[in-house]
Symmetry: C2
Subunit: 554 residues, 2 copies
């Protein structure tokens, strides 16, 4: 096998790190993903930058923290000018294509300001977060009294379904994401009490197999030129519903118990309490809801793994397994009732820690095959890794990219590990921010964690939350108000402060360029603080010596 030439960057949506058998799930067997872990490195402390699709992905696609790129919530546009995975990889001679979801919202106002037409090559890339588009599918076509959430959502997939005989204006909803009763009524997958229904669709036509085929079509169409394919699945993200045979595959004896305590429910923390009290927190705190959702959630993951089997078999058959790096990860997790929460918008590991498996065919990676790496990893580390696979030195881009290449971890070469990870969440747009009467600047939270501790800071002025990860890995006991842990909190606050001061916007000049300027004598004639000509090097002032002029003073 030779050096990796291509990158297959697979992302699942809302896939918890501990719902794969290689990460220890006792009942959900994911042999195809596990096989990649056995041939690559499984990262055991991989964190995303924000527990929500949009901001998490914008960090992954730019290699920069949310605090740096600013797209802090779903549908907050990524500002024009941000440099993306596509920009970096194309500069390195590698194509960068999307098959699936990004949750990108274009900065239409910024594009207008710069005169970028969305239908130009460059404009389309700016609008699509730097990717060239094989298929953009954010996997949602919800509709309400005010119309569609995403007017362009799932259009190609809906066409596909109609061509396959699924009728109506929105087969995405009526078939792929709903059940059906004996009277022919659509049982919408939007409602959690339908999550134990089988989706009314042939399994092969559901979203995960569809996207797998689209990914294979993309790879088939590539010639010899190196490519990065972001194969970005929508599942196991809600609507929680899956077709047979997956719909009947799991039952309560397969479920993990929720990780939660009565003490948590009685928290005095207004923000944490607020998230518990939100509809999704209340819903997932109900065992009946959780039981129905878990059937679908686990079935969706099992389907994803089976599709990985299809995909990897095809890669082996075509030789692509020998020249392609494979990355498997997720954009965030899912609380599933842990800590009396649903969805993902808080900072427990159920949400901010993700699976991350990297297989590199290169001989340099032989030393680490099948190993587990427990270094602190952030999702912004992927882009510098990809830049290096594309043949560039990511260190030369460290004024732009805030992550670190994973290659040393894959090659087993010594590397100083980062000391802490950061995640951010902006709940400015949530009803909770209204209830707490917070300005958008205050409705933000930061997480800073090392291997031993996790601190959550609230801009709202409420006290922090602290977890002792070493002794309380379930993150059940909040030590945010504990007087004996004041020093721990202070140390984590120092790390957050150091991070917040980083020169994240200084992206137009490399660190090497700054350093190169230090040695510079004044070779362009700017003489600062030189009393006399003889105080400067003769060469530096040569242009100013021996000049003649005419007296014009009068």
């Amino acid at each position: 096998m030779a050096k990796a030439k291509n990158i297959l960057f697979i992302m699942f949506d809302q896939l918890r790190w501990d719902y794969l058998s290689c990460y220890g799930h006792p009942h959900l067997k994911t042999p195809h993903i596990d096989a990649i872990a056995a041939k690559g490195v499984r990262f055991d402390r991989a964190y995303i930058q924000s527990p929500l699709c949009g901001p998490s992905r914008m960090s992954t696609y730019t290699g920069r923290y949310v605090h740096s790129h600013g797209a802090s919530w779903n549908k907050v546009p990524l500002k024009v000018g941000e440099i993306t995975m596509g920009d970096h990889l194309r500069d390195a001679g590698m194509g960068c294509w999307l098959v699936g979801k990004t949750h990108m919202e274009a900065d239409a106002e910024g594009m207008r300001r710069l005169g970028l037409e969305p239908d130009s090559v460059i404009g389309a890339r700016v609008a699509e977060c730097g990717f060239d588009i094989w298929e953009r599918d954010d996997g949602m076509r919800p509709e309400g009294p005010d119309g569609f959430y995403d007017p362009g959502g799932a259009l190609k997939y809906n066409d596909y379904l109609r061509n396959k005989g699924y009728e109506g204006e929105n087969p995405w909803h009526d078939y792929a994401n709903s059940g059906i009763d004996d009277a022919g009524n659509v049982l919408s997958g939007w409602f959690l009490n339908n999550s134990d229904q089988a989706a009314n669709i042939r399994e092969e036509d559901s979203e995960t197999p569809y996207l797998t085929r689209r990914g294979i079509e993309f790879i088939e169409a590539q010639g010899d030129k190196p490519w990065c394919c972001h194969l970005s699945y929508i599942k196991p993200h809600w609507p929680y519903i899956v077709p047979e045979p997956y719909a009947s595959m799991y039952s309560p004896q397969d479920f993990l118990s929720p990780v939660r305590s009565e003490a948590e429910r009685e928290t005095d923390h207004p923000v944490y309490k607020g998230f518990q009290n939100a509809p999704v927190g209340r819903a997932f705190s109900r065992d009946d809801v959780r039981d129905k959702v878990l059937r679908a959630y686990m079935g969706l993951i099992k389907q994803c793994d089976d599709q990985m089997g299809v995909l990897f078999d095809w890669l082996k058959k075509t030789g692509r397994m020998d020249d392609t790096m494979i990355v498997i990860t997720s954009d965030h997790g899912d609380f599933l009732g842990d800590h009396w929460l649903g969805e993902k918008t808080f900072f427990h590991d159920a949400s901010v820690k993700v699976p991350l498996i990297v297989y590199d065919p290169s001989p340099e990676a032989d030393a680490t095959r099948g190993t587990v790496c427990d270094a602190l990893i952030e999702s912004i580390d992927l882009l510098p890794t990809f830049v290096e696979v594309a043949g560039q030195d990511a260190g030369k881009l460290d004024h732009i990219l805030e992550g670190r290449s994973l290659l040393p971890h894959l090659y087993g070469t010594a590397v100083p590990e980062r000391g802490f990870v950061i995640a951010e969440y902006d709940f400015s747009a949530s009803p909770l921010a209204g209830k707490l009467d917070l300005h958008p600047d205050q409705a933000r939270m930061f997480m800073v964690a090392d291997k031993a501790w996790k601190l959550i800071h609230f801009e709202s002025g409420h006290r922090p939350i602290l977890f002792d990860l070493a002794n309380d890995p379930g993150e059940i006991t909040d030590l945010g108000g504990s007087t004996e842990h004041a020093d721990v909190r202070a140390k984590l606050y120092d790390l957050l402060f150091e991070w917040a001061r980083r020169p994240a916007a200084r992206t137009t000049m490399s660190n090497d360029s700054f350093i190169a300027k230090r040695a510079g004598s004044p070779r362009h004639g700017v003489m600062i603080g030189i009393p006399e000509q003889s105080d400067a090097a003769p060469e530096a002032v040569a242009k100013y010596v021996g000049r003649k002029a005419v007296d014009k003073r009068s």
Copy 2:
């Protein structure tokens, strides 16, 4: 008089706040500037965002901190996508033009990435920091063995001089910025021992009168459409040399004594000591150098004030004084030997505090004419002020603009003052950073100050510096290591931390938009955490009710 319709935004370069008679200079009389202060408001605590031309100006022109726009040093390009004064004012229907200096460096790499041609209308604005160009003149045409510092610098002015009979390839240097001896030798103004020479140029042809005339020509050419004219003088910035009669106007009895102490010279602070030991610090610590430079520096300021007289007379004559806001400020000060320093790259008031005088013809401003405002002001406050003069609500742009409109101060309306000011300096490219062996991320300094205290933080890991502004306005005694001031330092560090966490990159969605979303029921059909259809509002789920499908499960 009616509401201000136009803005004449006058900036001097390297003009110390205390070198105007309205700010208390006992010997340097500046009656024309003082007259504007008498008709407007003189701000007594106006701070710039960085003590260096480029970063200070980029903050003024974007309304954003250096930590936000990233152009942290001269010639660090302002990244494409940053929204400028020109963008905001043109959106508000006001033209925004440059006559003079910006120190803007275009982000050529970013423009390439976005396909922006420098000769297109939009490309030219992006390359020129958002301004339309009447005349760009950064006032420098130095040349050394490696060529010109700025190949495009002072070209028009050099043409002007040649047309006036000043010969040679660089009359900017040989005449406007040099003296001459009896043998016809050019005495270069680059060398400080020539600063007491008269520049070899007719006064009317020197840079300050030239730019005044260019500004008047610009205003004359405007029709009825509102304009903002950034009349941006190069002087009293070095080369320190001025033509007669100004060259002979001031002598040592007119000079302020240097503000410095022997204890300062023995500082144990490696960064402060390093700046003292730089060539410019050593040069300005010499009384002979200082005496020569001050003749020129004060003469240059006097010439600037006389030109203000010419300009304001013309504005009165043409009626523009009645519909034009006039702003007079500087991009930073000049140590002139204070604290054993030269130039400006540190954080004493001699450098970071600037004159700021605002005259507003509007009747609303009658209440404050001739008053002094001691609120803490930052140079980023100018752009929101201008946006409001152009008729927009700057509050709607507070997700982009980090400053605050000065109009409430001009109108005498109650306003909560900001609690602290921030300045930053990046010395990554300096020889000192090399001597101290600092990574570019470490070669940075922050200043945080309120009315009582000023703290300087060093990313290099060295201890902070602290000044007691109330009891030590000369900033002579460094309390950075004083144990009894630990609480004061902690309080200022808290402010810096709060500031560093601000969501500066979240520029694509307004705070109002975030707040408006809080009230939103799920009107686009996204049903998160809804167990049953009956748990949601009937209207919200109406699209999902009563749908029929065909059974496709088998």
